[in-house]
């Protein structure tokens, strides 16, 4: 009883911390009301949030459990910096630290939220440019539809099963990406348009997923569409389609569960628009494979995910995505 109470308290405190932190940042940037963005101070948010903090990186963990946690993502890009074949290449190193959570509302609904801190560095010859700050947050409300098999002998459905993990689940998500990060118009000069802490826009996120949790293997598949908004600089990142699928298995020991996985993911970006005109060489696609594992120890989940591109054509071939590494530590709710 005492133990239960303690655990409940931890959950409460963590949840409240998360909500408070999240709320505070939003208030600070005046993000809740778009028209405030017309002042230079507190500019509103994202390609980054989409390319670095969500999209094909997923919004949750393998077993779709509720959690609050921290995720770190490292990404590296190489960009052709100039208009000639022999123009120098710049290297972009993106470090993203995310506070992320999946919080249940009831049996059918839950919410995922994600607040990144971006630390981005770009090196060209001997000069280095760094931008950092709070990135673009997103909140997605999810509806979970368990597909329950009817029992063979009678036609009644066992509604009690909804409390347990169903083998097949469909997920539908509707969310918004907020301009909590700062968009700097001057940075649009760069070949890699992802070199921004935020996009300065409100974006809609529409997701559909399918999860299968069997005894030996599980499969998570997610397809998301990002409807990008225009920011105050009349700059609109291209709409984005992202997919990811992971296949995992479980090795159980007395104390820990190890869940290795293999994944395939991808993003497709439409062209960027500025002043309602399409900018050349700003669309692209990338397909990645990933390998990783989650380790469950009591209420903690430690995850590692290494991602390598297998096909890419980003921004007219001028930007090359290198390998990506994600680490996360979650506390299950």
């Amino acid at each position: 009883m005492m133990k239960d109470l303690q655990s409940f308290n931890i959950k409460c405190v963590l949840t409240i911390c998360f909500v408070l932190f999240f709320g505070k940042i939003k208030a600070h940037n005046g993000c809740l009301w778009p028209y405030k963005s017309h002042t230079d101070f507190g500019v509103l948010c994202d390609l980054c949030s989409c390319s670095t903090s969500s999209g094909s990186m997923g919004f949750g963990t393998l077993n779709n459990a509720n959690f609050v946690g921290l995720r770190y993502i490292y990404q590296k890009f190489e960009s052709q910096n100039g208009v000639f074949q022999n123009s120098p290449k710049s290297e972009e190193n993106f470090n993203t630290y995310q506070l992320w959570a999946q919080i249940p509302i009831n049996n059918k609904y839950y919410v995922t939220a994600n607040l990144p801190y971006q630390d981005l560095t770009r090196s060209l010859n001997e000069t280095t440019q760094n931008i950092n700050g709070v990135g673009d947050a997103n909140i997605i409300a999810w509806y979970k539809l368990p597909l329950i098999k009817k029992k063979k002998n009678n036609e009644t459905v066992d509604f009690n099963k909804t409390n347990q993990t169903a083998a097949h689940t469909l997920l539908f998500g509707l969310g918004v990406k907020l301009p909590t990060g700062k968009f700097e118009e001057a940075l649009t000069d760069n070949v890699n348009p992802g070199f921004q802490v935020g996009t300065g826009s409100f974006d809609g996120i529409f997701s559909a997923g399918y999860n299968y949790a069997g005894n030996k293997i599980g499969v998570n598949t997610l397809l998301s569409y990002y409807l990008k908004g225009e920011n105050k600089n009349e700059y609109k990142f291209g709409d984005q389609v992202s997919f990811s699928t992971n296949v995992y298995t479980v090795f159980k020991t007395k104390k820990i569960n190890i869940m290795p996985f293999l994944g395939l993911s991808g993003d497709s970006y439409s062209e960027i628009k500025q002043y309602n005109e399409t900018l050349n060489d700003t669309n692209g696609t990338i397909v990645n494979t990933s390998i990783g594992t989650e380790v469950n120890l009591k209420a903690f989940v430690l995850g590692v995910n290494f991602t390598a591109p297998i096909h890419q054509d980003l921004f007219g071939g001028n930007v090359q995505s290198k390998n990506r590494l994600a680490l996360y530590l979650n506390y299950s709710l």
């Binding site: 208009v83 909140i139 908004g229 600089n233 500025q274």
Partner: protein, 263 residues
């Protein structure tokens, strides 16, 4: 459910915010700046001094001087109106030696009428009208051109482009190469203009300075509209009435707008 409602409310806000109306702006009297970035290259590569570049006819060249004159810069907007930059300030020497770290030579135009421009026109060299203003009518530009070695005598006039270096082929090595093309007084007019459409409109406002990235492919001066051979006299081009118009045509066609930046 509160959070769901809040999310939906935020989404609605986002949609509403992105649907704000675009009222026609009144730009009367408003001016802004434009930066032209000239970027010299050779056949898709960034130009580097004293680097050997191969051309047709088994010839190669190395250059140590790359200069040209740009004038009569003007812009056409989406409605077909033309903004001509003020004549007295509308001649520039583009000197590769003055390029910044990125290899670009910047021309900063100020006091440009606010508008959304779709194309640029400029002349290579100096036209007869400006030349007819006489030495006094040239303002500071005459002095500047003399200092840069872009003049013969006043009577002969300006050198529109100046490419100095050496060339080699199968039989000769590092022979002097001096291509100085211009008009010859009032008897031979080699002034030519080029009009380049922008891939995207440039938006000029008092708080918006667009940048136009212009690439000049120096190879086209030699292997352009017409290919010329150094070994057949094009190693020394000065005031020849046959050679200079050919080079003038080649040079006028060596420019392209690679991209623009609006901010």
């Amino acid at each position: 459910m509160k959070i769901v409602k809040l999310s939906i409310a935020l989404l609605m806000c986002a949609i509403m915010a992105s649907c704000s109306s675009d009222d026609a702006e009144d730009l009367t009297g408003e001016t802004g700046n434009i930066i032209l970035k000239f970027d010299n290259g050779v056949d898709g590569n960034d130009f580097v001094f004293n680097t050997e570049y191969s051309k047709s006819n088994n010839e190669s060249f190395k250059l140590e001087t790359v200069k040209y004159i740009i004038s009569n810069v003007r812009f056409k907007d989406a409605d077909g109106n033309t903004f001509m930059y003020p004549t007295e300030d509308n001649a520039f020497i583009i000197n590769e030696a003055n390029a910044n770290n990125a290899g670009e030579i910047w021309v900063e135009l100020t006091g440009v009428d606010a508008a959304n421009y779709t194309e640029i026109t400029f002349g290579i060299g100096i036209d007869q009208a400006r030349f007819a203003l006489g030495a006094e009518g040239q303002g500071d530009f005459l002095e500047q051109a003399e200092a840069e070695g872009m003049m013969w005598s006043w009577a002969t006039g300006y050198k529109f482009i100046r490419l100095d270096g050496t060339y080699s082929d199968g039989t000769v090595t590092n022979q002097a190469l001096n291509m100085h093309m211009g008009s010859v007084g009032t008897t031979l007019d080699n002034y030519k203009e080029t009009t380049l459409a922008f891939p995207n409109s440039i938006v000029v406002r008092n708080d918006k300075t667009p940048e136009v990235h212009i690439v000049a492919d120096l190879m086209k001066a030699f292997d352009g509209v017409q290919s010329v051979k150094f070994s057949e006299g094009y190693d020394q081009v000065h005031v020849d009435e046959v050679e200079t118009p050919i080079i003038a045509t080649n040079v006028a066609a060596m420019f392209m707008v690679h991209h623009v930046h609006n901010h």
